[in-house]
């Protein structure tokens, strides 16, 4: 067990039991809820065939409110700094303002919390192409009877690059995301219920970032963190666009997403000439089946005893992610300043089982099959075949 794990367990248990003690009321309006999360994986180590124990998340934090209009959330990765630290001011449900350090809005998968993911790892596209957390301000809310959601904001960076001066506007980022429940809109004013379809939600998003010059393009990494597309020099604008679908009819759930990102390479040629942009894109389609039904699973998620069969879910996902230059025919040999780069791609299948033991404990087991096509120079040789990953989540 690595350093810091034991305190995380203690804090988690303190926060999680008894259930009634989770939320601490300071006054009628002021309340605070301590949170803790410990995710432990058994998986193959980076650059090795050895399977070992890996603590993926050790987090403590708190959520709460200091009035009926002001909420806050803080969360820290033990030994690895702050993750979320923001205040949300809710004027109305339609107009809210969030300020602080939080996720730049883009991909549905990226915005889904760690405890609500259907798979151990986020989709490769969401993991590799999404922005991270950054300091900024965003306006968000839901309108049209909650059928339309939006979030738009400005951030000091896109949160993916290390080494930037904290809080400096070195890579300013503007992001926007809109979601729509089309059958929810249609239902407004109608007394008929479009059963099953009202949950369909579509999303579109875009993020633009002004990149500093450096060897900081998107990089392709396998789930094992081994690299299959090494970064190249970039300079100029990074533009991400994406679209997604989420639908959970009955015991089934379907989620699909497409993301694309272009990195400009102004003056990055050997003679200082501008090169074609680096393009990265990826998609994923995933299905989940709550074996005992969605309501039974929801109850399992809320029990303090052993949930048993109702806590079971079966999952399946197929996805791909690719990196290169648009129209890479005749691509040159790979260098970090090559004008044309042939496409390096990864194709992944994941099958899994989730078992919600109770409201504190969740077990996940995934079998992941990764195939790499045309890895770039310097990248590791891909390992063929299925690799198993098991995760134990303990969180309140």
């Amino acid at each position: 067990m690595t350093r810091g794990t034991a305190p995380a367990v203690v804090l988690m248990l303190a926060a999680g039991m008894p259930v009634a003690a989770q939320s601490i009321a300071i006054s009628d309006d002021v309340r605070i809820t301590p949170t803790a999360r410990l995710d432990t994986d058994v998986r193959r180590a980076k650059g090795s065939d050895d399977v070992g124990l890996d603590v993926a998340r050790r987090r403590i934090g708190a959520t709460g409110a200091i009035s009926s209009h002001v909420e806050f959330e803080i969360e820290r990765e033990i030994d690895d700094g702050w993750r979320d630290a923001f205040v949300n001011v809710r004027a109305t449900r339609a107009v809210q303002v969030r300020a602080g350090h939080f996720k730049v809005p883009f991909s549905r998968e990226q915005l889904t919390g760690a405890g609500a993911l259907d798979f151990i790892d986020r989709s490769r596209a969401a993991d590799l192409l999404s922005p991270g957390r950054s300091a900024g301000v965003a306006v968000h809310g839901r309108v049209a009877g909650r059928a339309v959601g939006y979030e738009a904001g400005g951030f000091v960076s896109d949160g993916t690059r290390t080494g930037l001066v904290p809080g400096s506007w070195s890579e300013p980022t503007v992001a926007g995301r809109v979601t729509l429940k089309p059958f929810g809109l249609a239902r407004r004013g109608s007394t008929r219920r479009a059963k099953g379809w009202t949950d369909v939600e579509l999303g579109i998003a875009a993020v633009t970032t002004s990149l500093d010059e450096g060897r900081e393009s998107f990089r392709g990494r396998l789930a094992s963190k081994d690299m299959f597309f090494a970064p190249v020099f970039v300079n100029g604008r990074r533009l991400r666009v994406g679209g997604d679908l989420d639908w959970r009819p009955g015991p089934f759930g379907v989620r699909a997403e497409f993301l694309r990102a272009d990195d400009a390479r102004q003056h990055q040629g050997l003679a200082g000439e501008t090169l074609p942009p680096i393009r990265a894109y990826g998609w994923s389609m995933a299905g989940v089946w709550a074996v005992a039904g969605r309501k039974a699973h929801a109850r399992a998620n809320d029990t303090v005893a052993i949930a048993g069969f109702p806590g079971l879910e079966l999952t399946l996902r197929t996805e791909a992610v690719a990196f290169g230059t648009p129209g890479d025919a005749g691509a040159q040999v790979w260098t970090p300043r090559a004008a044309l780069l042939s496409t390096s791609a990864e194709r992944v299948w994941t099958a899994g089982v989730n078992w919600t033991v109770n409201r504190l404990v969740r077990l996940q087991a995934n079998a992941v099959h990764e195939t790499v096509v045309n890895r770039s120079r310097g990248a590791v040789p891909p390992r063929a075949g299925w690799s198993p990953v098991v995760r134990v989540q303990i969180a309140n």
């Binding site: 020099f233 050997l270 000439e273 040159q332 300043r337 090559a338 120079r377």
Partner: protein, 411 residues
């Protein structure tokens, strides 16, 4: 008035790139032999095209071995997308970086004139910039394989970067050219100034005690098979005098080993096999399918620095036993090897008498204007001239002094 960065970039894009690409087309003309690149009868000229930011990064991070892409242009032939990096130990410089050029860094199939790489030596430890070149020529003239090299005006992005030497790398291409084979085991002796001096002392039987440090594998990197090196060092320490020649000859070409040291002794090299800081600046090549190896010389910038009157037994028997090279001590107990040592010194004296003074005059004249224009060199032209004068004195006096020394030495 300074040209704007935009103007410079535009010039590069509009002028240099088309020239480079035209060169690439010309590269399909009948090939010129690698000997032409190392032809020291003329001052060569090499141009590199490097992204200006990369060049600035390389100079700022000259202690790192980070590779940067570049185009390499020589005699109108362009090799695209080579890899360049800073190199050297004591010669590393952020002003005038020593460079390693790997033609196959980004394209494993790419060679140039049959070469996989060359070194662009910055010569910043030698005011004359001649030590290395003269020393390697002497090795070759007495029949020991050594890298070829020539002086070169180096231009980076059309700006004069200084007077360099283009040096043949000791790699598979070198082995194939000299020995007709390249599948043996090649190790670079990797001296780290932070390490204790090493002189073939026995450390134990495990190969890992000898490789990858200090014997860094250059070929067979993933399977360096250093057991014969461990066996060699054990044999040096444990073999009886009676069996020494027979046993050691199974691991090392002893005659070439002592001949190598003899050339270094003639050149008064202070940083070679019997260097003042332990062994340094050589490669070890073990021939295909055998346990027998030979040594190859590298980096002779410290040659000529021991002084013209230096004894031929310097660092052999004029230092306390712990500072003596254990193999050389044992080799000199063997009359036949002692004879090879002294005969090679006499051979060096004969060659140098007939050749060295004229060669110093010829080469110094060849490079003087380029040295004068080299504002990145850490020496003035007066220091250049003074060192050339010292080399001329060395050429005139050294042979007779060595002959006297040999004459006084028992065989």
């Amino acid at each position: 008035m300074r040209a704007s960065p935009l103007l410079c970039r535009t010039l590069f894009a509009v002028v240099i790139l088309p020239l480079a690409m035209a060169g690439a087309v010309r590269a399909q003309d009948p090939p010129i032999d690698a000997a032409a690149l190392f032809d020291d009868s003329r001052l060569q000229e090499i141009r590199l095209i490097v992204n200006p930011r990369d060049w600035a990064d390389l100079k700022a991070s000259f202690q790192l071995n980070t590779y940067y892409p570049a185009h390499f242009i020589w005699r109108g032939q362009t090799v695209r997308n080579v890899g360049i990096r800073s190199r050297g130990t004591g010669s590393r410089s952020g002003v005038k970086p020593g460079l390693r050029v790997d033609f196959n860094r980004f394209d494993p199939s790419q060679h140039f004139l049959g070469l996989k790489s060359v070194v662009l030596r910055n010569n910043v430890q030698d005011p004359s910039q001649l030590h290395e070149r003269l020393a390697m020529r002497l090795f070759t003239q007495v029949g020991l394989p050594a890298p070829r090299e020539a002086h070169v005006r180096l231009y980076v992005n059309e700006e004069y970067a200084g007077l360099y030497s283009v040096v043949e790398s000791i790699d598979k291409a070198f082995l194939a050219d000299r020995f007709g084979q390249d599948n043996g085991y090649l190790y670079e002796y990797d001296y780290d100034p932070a390490d204790l001096p090493y002189r073939f002392e026995y450390k134990g039987p495990q190969p890992s005690l000898y490789s990858p440090k200090p014997f860094k594998p250059v070929t067979h990197e993933t399977d360096p098979d250093a057991q014969p090196i461990a066996d060699l060092v054990r044999a040096i320490a444990q073999t009886s005098d009676a069996d020494f020649l027979r046993v050691l000859s199974g691991y090392l070409d002893l005659e070439r080993f002592v001949a190598h040291i003899a050339v270094e002794a003639f050149l008064t090299d202070t940083d070679g096999m019997l260097g003042d800081w332990g062994m340094n600046n050589f490669y070890l090549y073990r021939f295909t399918g055998t346990t027998r190896a030979m040594v190859l010389p590298w980096d002779k910038s410290e040659a000529f620095k021991g002084g013209v009157t230096a004894s031929i037994w310097r660092n052999v028997d004029d230092v306390p036993p712990p500072q003596r090279n254990t193999l050389m001590v044992r080799a000199m107990r063997e009359p036949s090897l002692r004879g090879v040592y002294l005969d090679t010194l006499l051979r060096c004296a004969d060659v140098a008498s007939a050749w060295l003074e004229g060669e110093v005059r010829r080469t110094s004249t060849q490079i003087r204007d380029a040295a004068l224009a080299d504002s990145n060199a850490p020496f003035s032209i007066d220091e250049f001239d003074a060192e050339v004068g010292r080399l001329l004195d060395f050429a005139r006096e050294r042979s007779d002094l060595v002959r006297d020394d040999v004459r006084r030495s028992p065989r």
